[in-house]
Subunit: 217 residues, 2 copies
DNA sequence: TATTTTATACATGTATACAAAATACACCAC
DNA sequence: GTGGTGTATTTTGTATACATGTATAAAATA
């Protein structure tokens, strides 16, 4: 029972989309495996119509492939795919960084610095999961500061595709330390509102990400 | 009756998606207007299921908004939306240009130069429609030369969203002349495989596009 | 025994029917 | 005349039934 007062009128479609998306990101539905329609609709307790519509949405997002008459599968990324996604994401976040320096308010930047400091706390305590979650938020929030809706949308989509891979990849301690260093540089540039430097730092961060994840795909 | 021999086994879904997408791009379905499910499925001769699945795909592409229980509408872009899309597209094509210079074969570049020359022919003859179509192809092909699948996918999507706007915008003769000049610069840089210069030229081209279309949104 | 064919089961694609929500409209009170 | 309430109608959301296509396994032939 939902104790909150808020009216939760999310359509069944939206609920199924985010539920299945999570199942894919969490790896419950394995990349390359068939999606058993009958079993999933049974487990989710919905009928085929909203489920299939959800699959179409996820297919458009690139997480699922619908093969006519042959069922749907969870999309599986090749190393080339991942490299391509990071190449694009790197340039988009570079743009985001440049725009953020030009368009964000002082308060917004302060918030982001605060978020970064909390991340540092989790790093020192070696709490991977909360660090990881704040990391996702850091990148999303920084992209928001670009005040460019399309940029946010595209970044969100790529981040969703990469979420699982990144989580798997960032396991080794020295990789984690490297990522934290990258973030230090980014936050410093953001504080100075040095768009070019922030852009460079973000692009470098994404390139480093490739080095960190490439062996675990 | 289909006189061609080719087996046209595209799913009903795909057919509906591209049909409705075209209706939106051509302006038959006007931005902001409600999509009359009953009428359209009747005109297309399909049932509601594949049609609604197609709407979900188009919604994910950003061309349509599905409002729960209130029907779907054709998405209408504000000037801010268009500016944001061009800002992103500009940077993506800049990246595409840089990568193309590094990764394309001589033959591929020659093909693109040839395509450009055909565009010039249409420009001299003032044949707007064939010029416009080759222009779309020019940008798609150049992005293909980046050999980055994600980049192509993202570019395709943004190009689809902007298609109608760009067509409306590029009407005045002096604007057209400016666009042709931009292309001359791009092709020259591509011939020299000067990635930085090509990138700059593409980014500038997109910025000019904004100036050309902003008054007609 | 290997290979091809065919039958059958099962999963997917599409259509339709039913339920729920939103909108339009008429009627009444103020 | 204006505002509000209740009902009818339309439209959308979901479930289910039916049709069609694909894969598997059994049987027949080479």
């Amino acid at each position: 029972m939902n104790s909150s007062i808020a009216i939760t009128n999310r359509s069944l479609h939206d609920q199924v989309v985010s539920r299945v998306r999570d199942l894919i990101i969490e790896g419950v539905l394995e990349p390359g495996s068939r999606i058993d329609e009958a079993r999933l609709i049974d487990e989710l307790g919905v009928s085929r119509t909203p489920f299939r519509e959800a699959l179409r949405t996820l297919a458009a997002e690139g997480l699922v492939i619908v093969r006519p008459s042959k069922g749907s599968i969870v999309r599986k990324w090749t190393p080339e795919d991942v490299f391509a996604m990071l190449e694009v994401l790197g340039h988009l976040e570079q743009l985001a960084g440049e725009l953020a320096c030009a368009r964000a308010s002082d308060a917004e930047i302060a918030e982001l610095v605060d978020l970064h400091n909390r991340m540092l706390g989790h790093y020192r305590a070696r709490d991977r999961m909360p660090y990881y979650k704040l990391n996702q938020e850091f990148h999303s929030r920084l992209t928001e500061l670009s005040k460019n809706e399309t940029l946010q949308e595209t970044q969100r989509n790529l981040q969703a595709r990469l979420k699982r891979i990144r989580y798997i990849g960032n396991q080794r301690p020295e990789y984690w330390a490297g990522a934290v260093e990258d973030h230090e540089a980014m936050v410093a540039a953001l504080k100075d509102r040095d768009g070019a430097r922030l852009g460079q730092a973000m692009a470098r961060h994404i390139r480093n990400t490739w080095d960190r994840v490439k062996d675990s795909i």
